[in-house]
């Protein structure tokens, strides 16, 4: 039986803040420690099982294998397929090695989907707590302008998707790619030992809800019908609760089942942030934004949009990352800088889960903000970091700092 698959094709910006085309994915995937280029990688996704393969040019074989084997790097595909160079068959001399490692695995591609490095990273990550967070974050990014619109925000800011792909991917492509990444990820995660999965997902925003049967059925159906749908045409509605839906009748029910799990956190959070900031008497001079590993470019876009809609501009934004969240936080900081959003100055800093280090970070900020009349602290990092930052900011700056979860 020939396996049927969807193919995600990575489309990247020519020059990113670090390097060049294809490298942003490597930066995210290697936990921010590498910036090599892999030429035109693609991901093959089995529509029946969610199994994922990385298709790569044979000259990049060893680098891809290094990434796959490396304990730190996120790449966790089920197999690597190599594309041959030039004419003829793929290196018959090494057929034993290639058969053993799945390099010659065949999959009938029934649809090709363009994908940004964010959804590509999500699709090729492991299916642990972080990997599922990356998948949710990718889908949030794909519909971020729709979330903003539902929050009555119409910023002048360039969309993050346009920023990372330079406009070579349409929102519709990215929606489809992000749906594939999430659906295949959930199906793959369910093959893990149930008790381990529960323990792994404990503190996650997902809890065990994604493992419920209706969600699993929805993911399975989405993978199977996406090839016959040109674009999912997703939309976001506030209808009692947050609703992600599709204008395509074949997808509508399945996508709606994913709604709360996918958009609940981001929607409720920024609705609350917007409400609290509207109630402020004074214009805050700085924002301190803690970046958790579940956050992405959508969060940077929504914070900036809210600030722009309320005050037009703001003096400074601190993007505070931890060792786990820093690749995405770094990207968000560059996005805010490069797109000349509402913040006149964007500062990127790395703190950590050590409460002592978080206290030092708070101390540094306090020194810089001693003259400020009002600051906003958006607290989303790890508990030990947030508790230490919050306590020290409150002790040092008193009521001048507004702290929001």
């Amino acid at each position: 039986m020939i396996l049927c698959g969807l193919k995600l094709i990575l489309k990247d910006k020519d020059v990113t803040f670090l390097y060049a085309k294809g490298s942003l994915w490597v930066f995210l995937m290697s936990h921010g420690t590498r910036i090599d280029r892999l030429k035109g990688p693609a991901a093959l996704i089995n529509i029946d099982t969610g199994e994922v393969g990385l298709e790569i040019e044979s000259r990049d074989d060893s680098l891809a294998e290094l990434f796959l084997l490396h304990p730190l790097y996120h790449l966790a595909v089920d197999f690597i397929v190599t594309r041959g160079l030039g004419s003829g068959v793929k290196s018959p001399f090494t057929i034993h090695k290639r058969v053993k490692r799945g390099h010659l695995k065949k999959m009938a591609v029934i649809d090709e989907i363009n994908s940004s490095c964010i959804s590509f990273h999500a699709a090729t990550s492991g299916v642990h707590r972080l990997g599922i967070s990356y998948r949710l974050s990718a889908l949030q990014l794909a519909v971020t302008e729709k979330i903003a619109s539902e929050l009555n925000l119409k910023p002048d800011l360039q969309s993050p998707l346009k920023y990372i792909t330079d406009g070579c991917i349409r929102e519709e492509d990215e929606e489809k790619a992000a749906l594939v990444a999430l659906a295949s990820g959930i199906l793959r995660a369910l093959k893990l030992d149930e008790e381990s999965l529960k323990a792994e997902m404990t503190t996650s925003i997902l809890l065990p809800q994604l493992a419920q049967l209706p969600i699993v059925e929805a993911c399975s159906a989405i993978l199977k019908i996406l090839d016959s749908i040109e674009y999912p045409r997703l939309s976001v509605k506030l209808d009692g609760s947050v609703k992600l839906t599709s204008e395509d009748w074949r997808l509508k029910d399945h996508v709606e089942r994913l709604s709360n799990a996918v958009l609940g956190r981001i929607f409720k959070r920024y609705e609350r942030v917007q409400r609290c900031l509207k109630g402020l008497n004074s214009h805050p001079s700085s924002f301190i934004i803690d970046y958790s590993e579940q956050m992405g470019l959508a969060d940077a876009y929504l914070v900036a949009s809210i600030v722009e809609s309320l005050w037009g501009s703001c003096r400074k934004a601190y993007i505070i990352a931890t060792p786990l969240s820093y690749p995405m936080a770094a990207l968000a900081a560059h996005y805010l800088k490069d797109t000349r959003g509402p913040f006149d100055n964007v500062v990127f800093r790395i703190s950590s889960e050590d409460p002592e280090v978080a206290a030092a970070m708070a101390h540094m900020i306090v020194k810089e903000e001693r003259e400020s009349e009002a600051l906003v602290y958006l607290a989303t990092g790890p508990t030990s970091h947030v508790a230490s930052m919050a306590l020290n900011l409150r002790k040092e700056l008193g009521d001048r700092v507004l702290m929001l979860p």
């Binding site: 936990h31 790097y73 008790e195 770094a330 508790a387």
Partner: protein
């Protein structure tokens, strides 16, 4: 060989700029546990290179090859040089290659290392051990991150991070170990001398702590894992016992979903001799209020374990900030204990290997940063 590959540089002892015994790197996800991804006996940092050194006491060279191959693969160090020091000159001369899946490691006789450590490397080792003992527990997660950069990162990323994320500013706040890490990065990645200024100071308040709570309130989220139950129970028991107050009341506050976890922790705490323990189950929306109510009855410490919803964390931070003399906030964090070094390789007179990480309760009112108000 030299014609084909160009000129080789012979590494001399004076080329070694930093030496660290027991160089260990953990996966940086600090929520649950921290699996080791790299563990080496001795790290040598030279200009433009890191050399990972393994010291073997009793293995035959043949089994070293097997162990070496697995370890190199496991730690993602396939592209890195690794030196092996083995007991005798004869073994070093005769590395086995016939049935090895990998190219042979570089084997050097152990007396050579002994002489090297005793003569040239000793001051460097003593210097880093002092920094590790003074600071690693306080900045463990960030230090681990910089060790990741040292072992795995490309020079461009290191340069960009040290510059853009201003990691050097921690040195200005007094974290000497982080200054040393930046210097190591600068040397190993060929980024220039870049000496980091250490200024400012941190006064440790823990030893001055005279706060005596009547109760300890512990928030227990969903944990599920038996190992975490044990680690949290150990951390709380150690903390409560260290407070040296026998009549302390312990309250475990949980939600309906995490009640099983709280009960499991209570059982373990009882086994450790703590008797006065109550479990309160509270609705998710009242977790903070419930804790504050209990804490409002007298001197208390509120301990946050695992990942607690941030609205709850902020409410409790507000609450404790408004009652600094009556209520303290604390968290659990993974920490290495570098006061206890097992002397694995006693004859080399190097203190080696931190024990596995332990979860510890850390009170947040612990430090006072001084001076250095101007940059």
């Amino acid at each position: 060989m030299s014609e084909q590959f160009g000129e080789f540089k012979i590494v001399k002892p004076e080329d070694v700029k930093f030496v660290e015994p027991s160089f260990i790197v953990y996966y940086p996800d600090m929520v649950y546990a921290n699996p080791k991804i790299l563990e080496t006996d001795l790290l040598l940092v030279l200009k433009g290179a890191c050399i990972f050194v393994e010291i073997e006491d009793s293995l035959s060279p043949k089994s070293i090859v097997t162990k070496w191959a697995g370890k190199q693969l496991d730690s993602g160090l396939l592209a890195q040089p690794i030196l092996y020091f083995v007991p005798s000159q004869e073994e070093a001369k005769d590395p086995p290659i016939a049935d090895s899946p990998c190219s042979p490691p570089i084997l050097l006789p152990k007396p050579m290392l002994k002489a090297l450590v005793k003569n040239e490397l000793k001051p460097l080792i003593e210097e880093i051990i002092k920094e590790l003992q003074d600071w690693r527990a306080k900045c463990f997660s960030l230090d681990n991150f910089m060790c990741i950069l040292l072992a795995y990162s490309s020079p461009v990323v290191c340069k960009w991070l040290v510059g853009e994320a201003e990691l050097g500013r921690y040195a200005e706040e007094g974290f000497g170990l982080l200054a040393k890490r930046i210097e190591m990065l600068n040397v190993a990645k060929g980024l220039g001398p870049g000496k980091v200024r250490i200024s400012g100071s941190i006064e440790d308040l823990i030893t001055k702590e005279e706060f005596k709570p009547a109760r300890v309130i512990v928030l227990i989220p969903l944990l599920r894992s038996h190992v975490l139950h044990q680690k949290i129970a150990e951390a709380i028991a150690d903390y409560v016992i260290n407070l040296a107050k026998e009549d302390i009341d312990l309250f475990l506050i949980c939600t309906a979903e995490s009640k099983g976890d709280a009960e499991a922790v209570r059982k373990l705490l009882r086994e450790k001799g703590l008797k006065k323990i109550e479990v309160y189950s509270s609705p998710r929306g009242r977790l903070a209020e419930e804790s504050m109510e209990v804490a409002g009855k007298g001197p208390s410490i509120i301990v946050l374990t695992g990942e607690i919803p941030k609205d709850v964390v902020l409410k409790l931070a507000e609450f404790t900030a408004s009652r600094l003399n009556e209520v303290k906030l604390a968290v659990t964090a993974w920490k290495p204990d570098l006061r206890i070094f097992p002397d694995r390789i006693r004859e080399l007179d190097i203190q080696l290997r931190e024990p596995n990480l332990t979860l510890r309760v850390v009170a947040l009112d612990f430090m006072r940063f001084e001076a250095n108000t101007q940059r």
